[in-house]
C-alpha cells in the first residue's frame, strides 16, 4: 500500500456539500461513494441527486435519519438510477419521491459490501485503494467543536450517529490519519474535511464501512 493515498488527487471526489439542518448525512455518504466510483470507472465526475435518495429510500426516514447500508440495499434491490443533482436538486427537507422511467439516464448500484474493519484498519486502507471512497458511520458528537487537525482522543467508537465519506489516508507523518469528507459545508473543519487517526478505531470510523459496485 502507498504511504499516502488520496482520491482527490485523481479528481474523482465531488466538492464538499452542506446538508444544512436536515439529518441526511447517510444519503450524502452513499451518493458521494457512488459519484466517485462512477468517475473512477471512467465517467465524467458528476454530482448525483442526494434528494432522490432522501425522498425515495423508503426504509430510511429522510431528514429524520437513515443508514448508508439501508440506502445501498434499497438502491441494489430496486436498481433505481440516481439522476444528476441538477435534475433533482437538494432541498434540505424530505419530499415526495420523484419517479423516472427505466430509460431515463442515471447511475445504479449493482452491489455493495459492508464490513467491520475495527482492528483491521490496514485492510480498510487496502479496500479504499481497491474499491474507491468508502461510506462510513462514526460517532461525531465531539465534531461540534472541531476546527482542524487530527482527531486522536475523545471520540468514542461506541455509538455511531453520523455518516461520512473516507477519501484517503496519510501514514507518512508521525500520526497516520484518515482523510474524511463531511457534509457540513467548507467552512467546517479543514475546508469541509476531518482527519482521524488511523488505529484504535477512533470515532468508530472502522465499525461499518461500505464499498459500492456500479
Amino acid at each position: 500500500l502507498p504511504a499516502k493515498f488520496d482520491w482527490r488527487d485523481k479528481a474523482v471526489v465531488a466538492p464538499v456539500q452542506n446538508q444544512h439542518a436536515c439529518g441526511s448525512c447517510w444519503a450524502f455518504s452513499v451518493v458521494g461513494a457512488m459519484q466517485s466510483v462512477h468517475a473512477i470507472g471512467g465517467s465524467q465526475l458528476a454530482q448525483l441527486s442526494v434528494q432522490q435518495v432522501l425522498d425515495c429510500s423508503f426504509q430510511n426516514e429522510g431528514c429524520n435519519g437513515g443508514s448508508p447500508c439501508r440506502a445501498l440495499n434499497w438502491l441494489k434491490q430496486t436498481r433505481v438510477k440516481l439522476v444528476p443533482q441538477s435534475e433533482y436538486p437538494y432541498k434540505a427537507k424530505t419530499g415526495i419521491c420523484h419517479f423516472f422511467s427505466q430509460s431515463h439516464g442515471g447511475v445504479a448500484v449493482k452491489n455493495f459490501t459492508a464490513h467491520d474493519f475495527s482492528g483491521q484498519e490496514e485492510a480498510m486502507m487496502g479496500q479504499l485503494v481497491e474499491r474507491g471512497p468508502l461510506a462510513a458511520i462514526v460517532d461525531a458528537v465531539s465534531w461540534q467543536d472541531y476546527l482542524g487537525g487530527i482527531i486522536q482522543h475523545h471520540c468514542s467508537s461506541q455509538w455511531s450517529n453520523h455518516a461520512v465519506l473516507v477519501v484517503g489516508y496519510n501514514t507518512a507523518g508521525d500520526i497516520p490519519y484518515w482523510i474524511v469528507q463531511n457534509s457540513w459545508g467548507t467552512t467546517w473543519g479543514n475546508e469541509g474535511y476531518v482527519y482521524i487517526k488511523i488505529g484504535g478505531n477512533v470515532c468508530g470510523i472502522a465499525d461499518s464501512v461500505a464499498a459500492v459496485f456500479l
Binding site: Q19, A21, C22, G23, S24, C25, W26, S29, N60, N64, G65, G66, S67, P68, C69, R70, N111, F112, T113, A114, H115, D116, F117, S118, Q120, A123, M124, Q127, I137, A140, V141, S142, Q144, D145, Y146, L147, G148, G149, I150, I151, Q152, H153, H154, W159, S160, N161, H162, A163, G173, D174, I175, W184, G185, T187, W188, Y195, D207, S208, A210, F213
Partner: protein, 71 residues
C-alpha cells in the same frame, strides 16, 4: 435581541461550548493534534446539534475476514 430569552439561552450554550473547547484541547498535546474552538455550531446546545446533524443509524456490519466477497 440582546437580553431576550433566546439571546440568554444561546449565550449560555456559547459559554458551555468554550468550556468544552478547553477540555478537549487539553488532550491535544502533540503536533497536528485536533483543535477545538468556536465555529458555526457553537451557539447550539449539544442536544440541538445531535438532533439536527447526527441522525445516522447504526449499521451492524460483518467483521472483515479478508475474503473477496461481494455483497
Amino acid at each position: 435581541e440582546v437580553n431576550s430569552e433566546e439571546f440568554n439561552r444561546r449565550h449560555l450554550y456559547f459559554q458551555n461550548a468554550t468550556k468544552r473547547h478547553a477540555y478537549l484541547n487539553s488532550f491535544s498535546t502533540v503536533p497536528q493534534s485536533a483543535e477545538y474552538g468556536v465555529n458555526q455550531f457553537s451557539d447550539l446546545s449539544q442536544k440541538e446539534f445531535r438532533e439536527l446533524y447526527l441522525r445516522a443509524n447504526t449499521d451492524r456490519a460483518l467483521l472483515f475476514s479478508g475474503l473477496k466477497t461481494e455483497g
